[in-house]
Symmetry: C2
Subunit: 375 residues, 2 copies
Amino acid sequence: MTTSRKQFILGSLAATAGITLAPAHSFSQPLPARSSSRMKLTFEPYNLNLKHVFTLSGSSRTTTPVMLTRIDYEGITGYGEASMPPYLGESQDSAAKFLSQVKLDRFPDPLLMDDILNYVDSIAPENRAAKASIDIALHDLAGKLLNQPWYRIWGLNPDKTPDTTFTIGMDTPDMIRQKTREASAFTILKVKLGRDTDKEIIETIRTVTTVPLAVDVNQGWKDKERALDMIHWLKGKGVVMVEQPMSKDDPDSNAWITERSPLPIYGDESVQRLPDLFNARGVYHGINIKLMKCTGMREAFTMASAARLAGMKVMIGCMTETSCAVSAAAQLSPVADFADLDGNLLITNDRFSGMTIKKGKVTLNDLPGIGIKPI
Amino acid sequence: MTTSRKQFILGSLAATAGITLAPAHSFSQPLPARSSSRMKLTFEPYNLNLKHVFTLSGSSRTTTPVMLTRIDYEGITGYGEASMPPYLGESQDSAAKFLSQVKLDRFPDPLLMDDILNYVDSIAPENRAAKASIDIALHDLAGKLLNQPWYRIWGLNPDKTPDTTFTIGMDTPDMIRQKTREASAFTILKVKLGRDTDKEIIETIRTVTTVPLAVDVNQGWKDKERALDMIHWLKGKGVVMVEQPMSKDDPDSNAWITERSPLPIYGDESVQRLPDLFNARGVYHGINIKLMKCTGMREAFTMASAARLAGMKVMIGCMTETSCAVSAAAQLSPVADFADLDGNLLITNDRFSGMTIKKGKVTLNDLPGIGIKPI
């Protein structure tokens, strides 16, 4: 396990020296001229240390590599983050390469978010987490300039946040019981299924707790009829939703299950960015939106808004992340039917304080931007 | 023609007398307590007088009925409007009936826009223009509370507004020539086609001007192969886009045309609210978004954002409207490939000043909210 505080490569992109343009239009609230009137992007690789070994089908790890970003503008700092679990294909190297190409100093005004984020998205395909690290930092900065938290700019009610699920990782029965006991502060737990031991895992958890369970199959089920039987069985065990029952490449089977399921079915691997929403409608009841999949808060908000107006359900998820990216996602959680925002709770070396969980519920603060402070 | 200033029925919904709750969460910028801390909705029927008789296939009229709304809150007023051309099925009566059911005093905070607009949408089906009149007034109010114009809250670049089309209504050749000459301030004109005289109309306009033309067929063409031939011919005449070539109930023919067309094809009648976007993808290159079709700015922004992220083009249109609803739509126009925002220019009795057209271009001001002032 590499501890990482000492590992900084402070990849600073110095703002191009040159003339300072005033914004092209006047401000309703003129901003005081401070240290620099150009945005300056810096980034820093960081490794999250996990409290428990994290096991997915076929892989285990004890750290998650992330890239922390910041955008400085006139003395105000916006913070962002890319979380890059190895199986998703991005790395600190790929993120550094991408971020080195981002020239924010060409934009006179951080609030030209549409221009800036279209530009960032156009630099290279993929790099979704790296793009999210810019998007989040820019939202944090813009929210601070507007002096409002994003839930408020988006018109959302902070009292309507859902309770978050807390994930009980795959493990031995004894460890599952122990982890479940440790999670007694949560009102809903998430369980990873999709292997031969599914019923055993649920029964094991049920020896310890009666709270509702969310189930994430991660495409693990291979037969739609058996999947549906399992869903009926799970419902009897107090499961309240099922994520990605079968392969993302088999929409017909997933749709078949959704049509018949007594529990809401959410697409996760099937739904990365907004265009995937078009294919998810009719296949799933809802979608799991994660900032690291969809390039950040702008696209996440559009996906959530469009899904709801189209009559679909919305879940907000995360990777293993610091409170930076988790708090950014939490800004959107008032629209979510389910939240899976436990990424910051799974690590021992957070770098920010931000959203909190109170009696199981995602709890937003009044801080402008994404609602975080460095610690 | 009924002039309407004297016709007011000031349908005031007095705020329920009762206790005044503080907002459930604290504000980053506390609002000063002023005249009332409850929202109060009032509305007023108004008839727009048209400069020219307005002719669509099979109907003509010289006025357009609208409903002007306002929401007052702590001494700040948000303005809204419903425009209700008779063929769309709403009227001042239906709007008054709908608006009378809207109880905004149950909400402690105008910035809880998501809750408020979900509630408004749930009161009754349809009534899309009436719903838009609340949505617009609420956006105007919220923007004023945030002290920002909406293009800025949405992160859009006000310099990126397109030129607006100006519609040359159906008429005799002499009148078409005259109207075209009168429209010499515009850099792109819109022509309504879909009858036997299509080529004649284009030729007539081309005797007067060489500016690009947008063509709105309003479902008027009945044969896809002839439609495609016509589009090729129109391209040769400097037409740059075509709206709703065939019936909204014939997606296959519209898709067939889109696949082969040398000009971008936009759906209009096919695309009312957000769910229609799902059916429009693959059928049209783009969509024409109008606040009166889609219940207002919130859904319009979502539709525009989702369409663009899905690789579709966006056009922002309007009905005959005062500068209130047109200026609200103009806030979104920086994302549009085409704007058709001439509704306020077609009337003689505007009630607001707002967005302007400068050298043909939609021009946004710095006023907070939707950028208007009563006149």
